[in-house]
Amino acid sequence: MSVIEMDGLRKEFTVRVRAGRLRREKRTVTAVDGVDLRVERGEMLGYIGPNGAGKSTTLKMLTGVLMPSAGRARVCGLRPVADRTRLALRIGVVFGQRSQLWWDLPLRDSFALLRHVYRVPPGEHAARLARCRSLLDLDEFLDTPVRQLSLGQRMRGELTAALLHGPEVLFLDEPTIGLDVVSKQAVRGFLAELGRAGDTTLVLTTHDLADIERLCRRLVVIDHGRVVHDGSIAALHSRYGSRRMVVAELDAALPAPPELPGAPVQRVEADGRRLVFALESASVAEVVAGLAGLATLRDISIVEPDIEEVVARLYRAPAEVG
């Protein structure tokens, strides 16, 4: 049995819009439009999409916060809304833009309170906390009230809080949002180690695709509430035609961009002295040979496919590329 199951999961919101000086009309907005998905135990799933695509709404339905309008969801075999209290004992959730910690209490007190809230035996709690303290360097701010923590410190505290009861599934909603490079690395490193152990299922939504590349083998892209890709990152590149780029630095600009078979010019930069070719059917050697006859080459570099580029294309026109 999959640890997460979604069948035709759908969420509609009713909004009131002004339709005259006094009159307002009800309008239905579909945030999630029939998502079918299975996630197996120990998987690390990247769940991405543009703003308003339905990522966070899906997570809130899976955690029992929001009631689906239609469809079926099961997490750890439980119905998220109906069994929310029981489910809460088996999942951990981190919302990057919200805090689950007690604002007025030091982090240490928040963790102690969570032990009682989740009814964790003292020994297990102490072992998990010790592990998180060491991996996330919590000691220097463990006695600081949450309201005085920096964003990076708070996020490390949130991750610990979500893990102290030993959840089977960890939902992470933009856990690296607003973090500096060092904090991002700390969070990613921690999650990577968590994923390597293999017994916690991770569902990660983010706008930072480096998080996905570093952590997730499987990527689900959602747009307008529908799944538009479900597979590996490599499959995404291959399916949507990600191309390697050849960047050629020239001594002097050419009068017009050259037309090389199988390698169209993507961009002209630096007043025409830098040309960027997309490799379609041509090889790097053919591009270099073609250019050598036209101009003096100063430098050549090859840029591997960029996940951000393909995802951006996907967001802009999912129907076209899909």
Partner: protein, 283 residues
Amino acid sequence: MGSVTATVAPPTDPNVTRWFRTFGAIAASGFRRHATYGQAAVAGVVTNTVFGFLRCYIFLAVAGAAGTVAGYDRAQLGTFVWAGQGLLAVIAIWGWTELADRIRTGEIAADLLRPVHPVTSYLATDLGRAGFASLARLLPPVVIGPFFFEVYLPRHWATLPLFGLSVLLAVVVCFGCRYLVNASAYWLQDVRGPMILWTLGSGVLAGLYFPLGFLPGWLEATLRYATPFPSLLQVPLDVLVEREPMPTELGLVGLQVGWAVLLLALCRLVQRRAEHRLVVQGG
């Protein structure tokens, strides 16, 4: 990461001892959370004390030369005012908008992700807050008042324990009312309207601005038996000044129990209805 991840099935069996331990831990955290704001407590005590003088002089003026009004003598009025000034912060009749704020900002999602019902969790926190307020906000006016005014000391041995129980029930009833007012944010988003109504209504009808005995008998009886408001302040204070015979006082505390149970049940019902139509603000 073996020690961090799931290796042991979490307990799911209902267990009364565990429930009380969790409730106690949340209440203790409520106490600690409010204990961090020492300066606010001092400012509150000063304000309550100043208004204690004003209210006491007004009530004594109403009592006039006869020295009694609506069944209260001068000493009972003194106790009514000074204990009332302290109780005001214990029951926290005003100013609690935490739940409404969390609904408005979407932070309520974090509350719903915990394995404790939100009503239980907020109630435990509120009882912890009331515990701190009993020490920091109730005691000072009760100690200061007798230095300047004649006060009434209970004569029956059962009065003080009954007063303690009545205050506890007043906190629960007040919590229930405040929770319902705050929960209107699930439907309205902006709770300023219900909050203004609550602030005005509770002050008048709970016996804060004047003892409800000042009102005509039929109106006092209607308020006392048909609304929860007198259970917030009037009942505990009447118990303390022994205005009624003991059996009547026991009946009034019994009425408080009824209101507490009814309001908590209503809070759970409203919470369940709200969750079915919840929109988490801010994505």
